[in-house]
């Protein structure tokens, strides 16, 4: 295969009428990657204060059939989950991400909710996960895989419930990338808060992204038959966000 590699790279250089790049050019391009300068970021969400940003996030999310319930604190999460499942006529049984950040949720307040923690299996109908951020410009959730945040939870169950804290709502995808880079960086991260899933693992290479980063904008859908949109093609039919309006966490 290395013959193929040499042929392809050699073919590229021949087509571009040059040999390997000189060291100064390589250094310049390496610098471009290291700087990862932002291109134009739409103004839509950039100039908003945190409250308006949260409102934009909710409006954009609801536009794509995500449902959002706003609660005052982590202590309200069990009641909201129980209410949502009852309203949707779903069984009061869910698989919860084994993320330490979710340990603070007082599930004992709703003893009728059957909770187990782990990755999702075929029979799991409802999951609940934390997320890394909400991105206001398109009502998008950012979730990162990790020991406490298996990706199957985001796709296998019919219903996916996500805990998002208002302080996690950022303006743009670029803000989301910065959060990913901060997680992956060697500088020690602050201890996780409830709902801030995917804490860095010792197995991660310094600077490496998690195995999977999901940007999720609404439930699964397809328009493949006569271009009529159907929800729940293969992923979740329902995406529900419990937005906790508590004080924003200190962000670097």
């Amino acid at each position: 295969m290395s013959a193929a590699r040499d042929d392809i790279l050699g073919g590229i250089r021949r087509a571009l009428w040059r040999g390997s790049l000189p060291p100064d050019k390589t250094a310049e391009l390496t610098g471009r990657i290291a700087a990862h300068r932002r291109n134009l970021v739409p103004a839509r969400a950039a100039a908003l204060d945190p409250a308006a940003r949260a409102d934009l996030f909710v409006a954009m999310a609801e536009e794509v059939q995500t449902s959002v319930a706003r609660v005052a604190s982590d202590a309200d999460i069990p009641a909201e989950v129980a209410r949502y499942l009852a309203a949707e006529n779903l069984p009061a049984e869910l698989v919860v991400a084994p993320d330490p950040g979710l340990d603070a949720i007082p599930w004992e307040l709703r003893p009728l909710l059957q909770i187990h923690r782990g990755r999702a299996e075929a029979q799991d109908a409802v999951s609940l996960t934390p997320c890394l951020a909400g991105i206001a410009e398109t009502g998008t959730l950012m979730l990162a895989s990790g020991a406490g945040t298996p990706t199957t939870l985001n796709f296998l169950p019919d219903t996916h419930i996500v805990v998002l804290h208002a302080g996690q709502i950022v303006a743009s995808y670029e803000d989301g990338w910065d959060l990913l880079r901060a997680r992956a960086s060697p500088t020690p991260a602050p201890p996780p808060r409830a709902g801030e899933g995917g804490s860095p693992q010792s197995g991660d290479r310094v600077g490496a992204l998690p195995r999977t980063v999901n940007l999720i904008t609404g439930p699964s859908r397809t328009g493949d038959i006569e271009q009529r949109i159907q929800l729940g093609a293969h992923g979740p039919r329902r995406l529900h966000i419990v937005l906790v309006d508590d004080a924003p966490p200190a962000k670097g």
Binding site: A15, L29, L40, P42, R211, T222, R228, Q230
Partner: protein, 481 residues
């Protein structure tokens, strides 16, 4: 897939005569352009983003060797492996080797145009491995044993009745008396049938919309979530994609992602944008144990540095298909290979040869809508013209056509003769067409009038009108030209 682009005229006639296709295309003609228009109207920066998107891709193409090497380093550092394939055969072999090493019997697939380009499914089947397409549209056409007719909506040529027929024929284990009259029921049935296959698959194969050099990540954009189930459930994840999909950084990917969904489906953002970096990490409870990327050249590097390089910016969004009057009339199968519409008319001659696909760049009205909606401003009509020049230079066009063109070229180089002949022709035709204003048939122009009317000229040539106007305002017409 064996190209049939050489029989485009016959394919196109069949498409025009197909009532199901015409109904289905009617839905697409209005739906996609309208949704795109609404989406870009909400983003005032869209035009600027197009310029930035074009600049990012041009930058990558100028240093493609550097970015590919940097990307490979980062894939390797995160525990994945890159396989380089010069052509379709090498890509198929690399994928088969990985599947065999994993003792795979069932392989799930996310939608990948590059997998279509290398005819991967046929190869896997021939070697005893069952490929299962999981994108709803791809699944439908796999059941019908036909190629995709659109690069983002593979079954766009079908109505729900054809889908129901395909499902009844394939899902014989289900109750034959079940109702399959609406898209909801069809969608649910596909979900039910495919779920166990997702869980049983040994290997999952996806394409990539972008490869990020900075992080060694591949990015896929989907709405169904099938691409995600395809890559997180099996033990092995293989990405098959073209070498031109590289972007330098996550920021560059963000710019292109803002263009992609709006141009493709008119969504603000697709439901799922997924970044995959290497295999599962120590401590992870799910995710693939192996991560492979097969990088396909297949004629792409040869397009660099010349008049076809701009095509390598293509994001495969399908906006050019959705806005093309020719595609909308004849459908995707007429183009006879994997890539239809304007982008196919430019790419297919490059990948399968102008001798096979010379008709495609000729199947254009040059109306320019494709270029005007392209998110990275590929000058598609201009590149089609380059292919026509190549076709002519290689003597591939029919002798009558070539003789006609040569004759015309000779006359056009003799202005007095040209003006005299054009003047006579427009006077005669103008007079003959006075009554109807158009011709239903005309000697020497049957190729045109067999399928449409020819508008009658007004009786004066442009040159004579121009000369007259210049005289009126007191200028010499020669001095202006």
């Amino acid at each position: 897939m064996q190209p049939t682009s050489h029989s485009f005229p016959a394919n196109a006639r069949a498409g025009l005569a197909d009532p199901v296709l015409q109904t289905a295309l009617g839905l697409a003609r209005t739906g996609f352009p309208q949704r795109r228009q609404e989406a870009i109207a909400r983003l005032p920066e869209f035009e600027e983003l197009r310029d930035e998107g074009r600049a990012i891709k041009d930058h990558v193409l100028a240093y493609l060797d550097f970015y590919l090497e940097r990307y490979e380093q980062n894939v390797t550092a995160s525990g994945g492996r890159v396989h380089w394939a010069r052509n379709a055969e090498e890509a198929r072999a690399a994928i088969l080797d990985i599947c065999r090493a994993a003792n795979a019997t069932i392989v799930t697939k996310g939608k990948s145009m590059v997998a279509e380009e290398i005819a991967l499914n046929d190869h896997l089947e021939a070697n005893g491995i069952t490929p299962v397409e999981t994108d709803l549209g791809e699944y439908i056409i796999q059941l019908r044993h036909e190629p995709p007719s659109h690069i983002i909506a593979p079954a766009i040529h079908l109505m729900k009745e054809q889908v129901a027929d395909a499902f009844r024929a394939a899902h014989t284990e289900l109750d034959p008396a079940r109702t399959l009259t609406d898209p909801r029921a069809l969608c649910d049935e596909a979900r039910t049938v495919l779920r166990p296959r997702f869980l049983a698959a040994d290997v999952g194969i996806t394409g990539a919309n972008f490869l990020v050099a900075e992080t060694g990540s591949s990015i896929i954009v989907t709405n169904e979530g099938n691409g995600d189930l395809t890559q997180i459930l099996p033990r092995v994840h293989i990405v098959i994609t073209g070498i031109e999909k590289i972007v330098p950084t996550l920021e560059d990917a963000a710019t292109l992602l803002r263009l992609l969904a709006r141009s493709a489906t008119g969504q603000e953002f697709s439901s799922y944008t997924t970044l995959s970096t290497g295999p599962r990490r120590a401590g992870d409870l799910d995710g693939p144990e192996e991560y492979h990327v097969v990088l396909l050249d297949n004629g792409r590097s040869a397009l660099l540095g010349g008049e076809f390089q701009d095509m390598l910016r293509c994001l495969r969004c399908a906006a050019c298909l959705n806005h093309c009057p020719v595609y909308a009339a004849v459908g995707g199968h007429a183009y006879g290979w994997v890539y239809p519409g304007p982008m196919g008319a430019v790419l297919t001659p490059a990948l399968v040869g102008v001798h096979e696909a010379g008709h495609l760049p000729n199947a254009s009205t040059f109306c320019g809508r494709c270029e005007s909606v392209c998110p990275v401003k590929i000058p598609l009509p201009k590149i089609m013209r380059h292919w026509r020049e190549r076709e002519f230079a290689q003597r591939l066009s029919p002798p009558v056509y070539r003789t006609g063109l040569r004759l015309w070229a000779w006359v056009a180089r003799q202005p007095p003769l040209y003006h005299a002949l054009a003047g006579i022709a427009s006077r005669v035709l103008g007079w003959a067409g006075l009554y109807r204003g158009r011709f239903r048939s005309l000697p020497l122009a049957q190729g045109w009038t067999a399928v449409r009317d020819l508008p009658a000229p007004q009786g004066r040539s442009f040159h004579s009108l121009w000369a007259e106007q210049q005289r009126r305002i007191g200028k010499s017409p020669r001095a202006q030209s």
